[in-house]
């Protein structure tokens, strides 16, 4: 039997992603790709994979079929369990046929990546396996019963390992951004208001855009611009003055002024904020943004460190095992 990863359960917004569908923005094609590139790369590098399944706050459960799979998990602080045993939220495990890997929203974070060593054997569309649900490109969002085949399955580790990836550590430091491209559509004190406010991620936030709740930002020169290209992390101020941070599934062009753009090193930290979470911004220079980018990608390039499970997780997992054992005994 060939190897497959069976989706046993999936909340909304569980999608296949690779780095993105690039090169076709000139034809209106959204790149999509992971919301948190740093977490995606931590998982895919540890697993030896070219794509991953992105799990949202709704969680998901997976079973291996056919052969033991090498599975890496990395992202926000999700509650990750292997057959009920609690694991670190970033880990590398062997998923034996019939074993169950579950991910649930945990202490913090909004997105988590499940990468399987080998290849998710799904045909690319326009050069990419990334799902863009709005335009119907790539696989449909995954649902219970889906079972993407795995080609060239990689050797799983003998024991579950923790993945130590410092760039995934949550923190409340301000999200750094560069002002522009249309900061000149706002008066100086409106830009100050934007930078000094404490913002909250709105409920209607998704892979396309994060709504920022806080003071209304007023335009000095109207809210219509001639449509132009949009980078990920651009913060657009539409007519109602409520900012939208444009994320992986953004439209490739837009017609509202963009007051600022989140720097590459902080896009993942922004993506991992959940609806209701607070955040603030800090403007930096191009040089500071590039220095942060250099450090960020150097750490990612070096990869996560595989380590034995930390003691506290072992204690917790023993507890979890006892609880699970208790449930099983009660059923017996």
């Amino acid at each position: 039997m060939s190897a497959r990863l069976l989706v046993e359960a999936a909340g909304p917004g569980v999608t296949m992603q690779d780095e993105g569908r690039f090169g076709l923005s000139r034809y209106g094609v959204t790149p999509a790709g992971p919301m948190d590139l740093g977490a995606y790369l931590a998982a895919t590098k540890a697993a030896g994979a070219e794509s991953a399944i992105e799990v949202s706050l709704g969680g998901a459960a997976f079973l291996a079929e056919g052969t033991p799979l090498r599975v890496a998990v990395a992202g926000g602080e999700f509650d990750v369990r292997l057959d009920g045993r609690r694991l670190p939220s970033a880990c590398l495990v062997a998923l034996a046929p019939g074993a169950r890997l579950t991910l649930r929203a945990g202490a913090s974070g909004a997105w988590c990546y499940v990468a399987v060593g080998g290849r998710l054997d799904v045909a690319p569309v326009l050069g990419s396996r990334a799902t863009h649900a709005r335009s119907g490109l790539g696989s449909k969002p995954l649902a219970a019963g889906d079972a993407p085949p795995i080609a060239d399955a990689a050797a799983p580790p003998p024991e579950p390992l923790a993945l130590i990836a410092p760039w995934l550590a949550p923190d409340d430091a301000p999200i750094r951004l560069l002002l522009g491209p249309q900061a000149d559509y706002f008066a100086h004190d409106e830009i100050e208001r934007f930078l000094n406010a404490r913002w909250r991620i709105g409920a209607r936030s998704d892979r396309m855009a994060y709504r920022l709740e806080g003071p209304a930002i007023r335009h000095a020169r109207g809210h219509d611009i001639v449509s132009d290209g949009v980078a990920m992390g651009a913060i657009q101020i539409p007519g109602d003055g409520a900012p939208l941070a444009l994320m992986a599934d953004r439209q490739p062009t837009g017609g509202y002024p963009k007051i600022a753009t989140v720097i590459g090193a902080d896009l993942g930290r922004l993506a991992q904020r959940r609806p209701g979470d607070g955040l603030s911004f800090r403007a930096v220079s191009w040089d500071e943004a590039v220095a942060a980018r250099r450090d960020y990608f150097a750490a990612i390039e070096a990869g996560a460190i595989c380590a034995p499970l930390p003691a506290h997780v072992t204690t917790e997992s023993l507890l979890a095992e006892n609880l699970v054992g208790g449930v099983v005994n009660a059923r017996d």
Binding site: R26, Y27, G28, S135, G136, G229, A231, A234, T253, W286
Partner: protein, 245 residues
């Protein structure tokens, strides 16, 4: 209005917008597309992708491979007189897009005609008689924005969007025309429908008109629409392509 010199505007540290002027104007758009063609013919190390729009070219680049200053210098070199001549991947084309203006297909033509104070057939004649230019794509894959709409057909966009457009909707909004691909809600008016697929992910090529191509419309009746639609569904390109002189 065209700028004397292009503006270079940061969009984060890994994207740079090169803006050539204010407004929607064929001369400004031609400068955008000339720079685009030159960059594609001789891409500087570190340039990842270019996105042409009405008046600006967005350059996505890797700043760990090329500095902003070096990228600006490369662009200025290409824009200078005697800069590298572009070798377009293909010569510009003129597309003749079959379009059915029958109200059964043109869902909003009566509404738009009433707003413009003219009869639907007159709106259709004016729309089909004009010469358009494909300025850019945006919004969704294969949504092709066209300049050249007759002034008499300029129409304010809806205050709130209508429901999803039919496949292949031909629309007007503001001073522009648009050919849509997949169904999406929009604030524009559906004044016709083409059987042509502006985007078909498994066809080669998946997209038809390139920014800078000329576009015209050829009125067709409902029966012709249905016949051409069946051929387009089977993967045939039913629009006419002619070399642009």
């Amino acid at each position: 209005m065209e700028y004397v010199k292009p503006r270079f505007i940061d969009c984060g540290e890994a994207a740079l917008s090169v803006e050539f002027g204010e407004g929607v104007d064929p001369a400004i758009n031609a400068r955008v597309l000339t720079l685009d063609a030159r960059l594609r013919a001789a891409p500087p190390q570190g340039l990842r992708e270019t996105t042409p729009t009405y008046r600006a070219l967005l350059l996505r680049y890797e700043p760990l491979e090329i500095s902003r200053g070096a990228l600006v210098a490369a662009v200025e070199g290409l824009l200078a007189p005697g800069g590298i001549e572009e070798k377009p991947s293909r010569p510009a084309l003129r597309w003749t897009i079959p379009c059915c203006y029958d109200p059964a297909f043109a869902e909003d033509i009566d509404e738009a005609a009433a707003l413009l104070g003219r009869a639907a057939p007159s709106l259709a004649r004016l729309h089909a008689g004009a010469d358009y230019r494909a300025y850019m794509y945006g919004f969704a894959p294969g949504w092709c924005y066209l300049g050249g709409l007759p002034q008499e057909l300029a129409i304010p966009r809806r205050a709130s969007p209508r429901g999803p457009t039919p496949q292949g909707a031909v629309l007007i909004g503001g001073a522009l025309a648009l050919i849509a691909a997949n169904p999406m809600p929009t604030g524009w008016y559906v004044i016709g429908r083409t059987p042509e697929r502006m985007f078909a992910p498994r066809r080669d090529p998946p997209f038809l008109a390139a920014p800078g191509d000329a576009v015209g419309f050829e009125p067709i009746d409902a029966d012709t629409f249905l016949a051409l639609d069946a051929r387009a569904a089977a993967g045939e390109i039913v629009a006419r392509r002619d070399p642009l002189q």
